[in-house]
Symmetry: C2
Subunit: 348 residues, 2 copies
């Protein structure tokens, strides 16, 4: 067993606190990664506080994990000691269903095994995440990371990055596609970077005029204030794709009206309440709404390679493990540009 | 001017009654069709009773029009005297926008001109529909009908037919596609026929066990009772496409759960209230919802030619013009298999 230091939620209301536990020994197909950085995703907070129900405690959150390979199983082929590596939102899946065979393991018919707040497939081990010093994972769910990139800023690519990259690719965003991004947070800021790098004309949709300058610096070409009816009128029927990253409750109608013929609104956020969709707005212009959940193992590696080639990383604020509870408070006020990343050196 | 007999709604509450008016003279690009049959669409009733707001009176409903060409303008090339012809849901559009240029005139950026309950593009003539003896329409919006088919049963193809044919084609339904059709009415029964003729495996989704026999006779291979949780569980994640023709208020969630990876639910009905869409259900399996509105002029002709080749028509009940108000009452009770069609001989 591998002794591991971590921070865990012990229940829905107490602040996260130190927690020591053991990772499993490195099996023939496993890779042991010494965690150097871990991104702080909004879903960490949701699950730590049991806001989605069914949380498993003690819970070590964190699924934007990067670090260094320190040990490999005898059958591991993808990694050698000292390689930089990442682990994302899932650490296992059934591997034999049609979806797994297509390397779309996030849609595994038996459901993927989440990196934390989930039971491992042995049915008895609690999967524990990246607010910790070590992780042991089957190599299928471990990704290679180029040393060219700033490693701490790579961490958010493992969730926020693939969650925006995958659907933009899936709907065919390319040179000249008119893409709007709704919501400028951890997901939205990477959505802007990816869409711009694919050659799209990128527009930020926001309720806050103060976001315009930042959006343009990230690569947005236009900015639409969605509280201004005149601006909405001007962009009616304009966009081919809207990447909707808004996780708060909202009606989809305002955004749908902005879609062009055959336009698609991608949903990657899960608002607590179901959103309303007026059918007439969908029928006009043959519009669609399409859901998307992270990305499979093949595409996650492709995304990381693409980022290395195009020098794309997240904009982050580095924190110590001990500062996590304050970071959660600030995250609730959207007071972060655009992702907190934990420096696990602080826990060693 | 061309004297025309008709039945019209004079206001939202009085039964439809006889109405005489003049059609415009046949212009250089116009075709005059002596109307023989006109289908009765549920939207006729909605608009006659002003249930969508903004109704224009007197209103001659009807947009599933078939008859015989009796006069053509000097520039008309598609028709000669005596040809069978049809007019559907639109009689004009701007003709110059990108969508019109693609012959997707139903999505005209200046909005198509409806066959009734609309102003013609001259801004002063009320467009009047097919509960009448004559219609004069620009040939672009008039379709050729094969004499091989039973003409009275062709009428519903002009709205219910193209409304189901177009999206099934658009999402690529072909041999082996697993298609479910929700709602067995005017649209649904044609959806079943088209999907089956494309080689799909067709399943009827219904809340009423009594529909099973009829659905199978129309070409459905399976039947799922959506009030039975065991049956729903069995078909979870099963369908590639769901054609949702339900116009009553309903949550989309029950149907969405039945969609496979990359599955699409097509919306062609407009429930009075916006439907709720839980984002999580969309994210699972990367599901989509796509709206679709009738079809353009090119595809409407293609659909009619396809029907002639494959011997597809609607199942209808023929009525006299004088019986329209009773037919509306029965339509509200879903007491029709599956479309009323008016025999305009009764008005001559």
């Amino acid at each position: 067993m591998i002794p591991t230091k971590a921070y865990a939620a012990y229940d829905p209301t107490t602040p996260l606190a130190p927690y020591d536990f053991n990772r499993r020994d490195v099996g023939p197909h496993d890779v042991q990664v010494e965690i150097m950085y871990c991104g702080v995703c909004h879903s960490d907070l949701h699950q730590a506080r049991d806001e989605w129900g069914g949380s498993i405690y003690p819970m070590v959150p964190g699924h934007e994990i990067v670090g260094k390979v320190i040990k490999m199983g005898t059958h591991v082929t993808k990694f050698k000691e000292g390689d930089l590596a990442g682990v994302g939102v899932m650490v296992d899946s059934c591997r034999v269903c049609d979806h797994c065979k297509q390397q779309l393991e996030q849609y595994c018919v038996e459901e993927m095994t989440g990196t934390y707040n989930a039971m491992e497939r042995d049915g008895k081990t609690i999967a524990q995440g990246g607010y910790s010093t070590q992780i042991v994972t089957d190599e299928r769910y471990v990704y290679s990371i180029s040393p060219k990139l700033d490693l701490k800023a790579v961490a958010p690519l493992l969730c926020a990055g693939i969650t925006t990259y995958s659907p933009l690719r899936h709907v065919g965003v390319t040179k000249g596609t008119k893409v709007a991004v709704a919501g400028l947070g951890g997901l939205g800021h990477l959505g802007v970077k990816f869409a711009a790098s694919f050659g799209a004309e990128v527009t930020m949709l926001s309720t806050s005029p103060s976001k315009e300058k930042d959006a343009r610096e990230l690569g947005a070409h236009n900015f639409v204030l969605t509280t201004d009816n005149e601006q909405l009128k001007k962009y009616k029927g304009y966009f081919d794709v809207i990447l909707n990253t808004v996780a708060a409750n909202h009606s989809y109608k305002t955004y749908l009206n902005l879609l062009a013929l055959n336009g698609k609104m991608i949903i990657v956020g899960i608002p607590p309440k179901a959103s309303e969709v007026p059918a007439g707005t969908l029928l006009s212009n043959r519009r669609s709404i399409v859901g998307s959940m992270i990305g499979g193992t093949k595409e996650t590696q492709e995304m990381l390679d693409y980022c290395a080639e195009h020098n794309i990383v997240a904009d982050i604020e580095l924190i110590k493990m001990q500062d996590i509870n304050g970071a959660y408070d600030r995250m609730l006020k959207n007071d972060v540009k655009y992702r907190f990343v934990i420096d696990l050196a602080s826990l060693k």
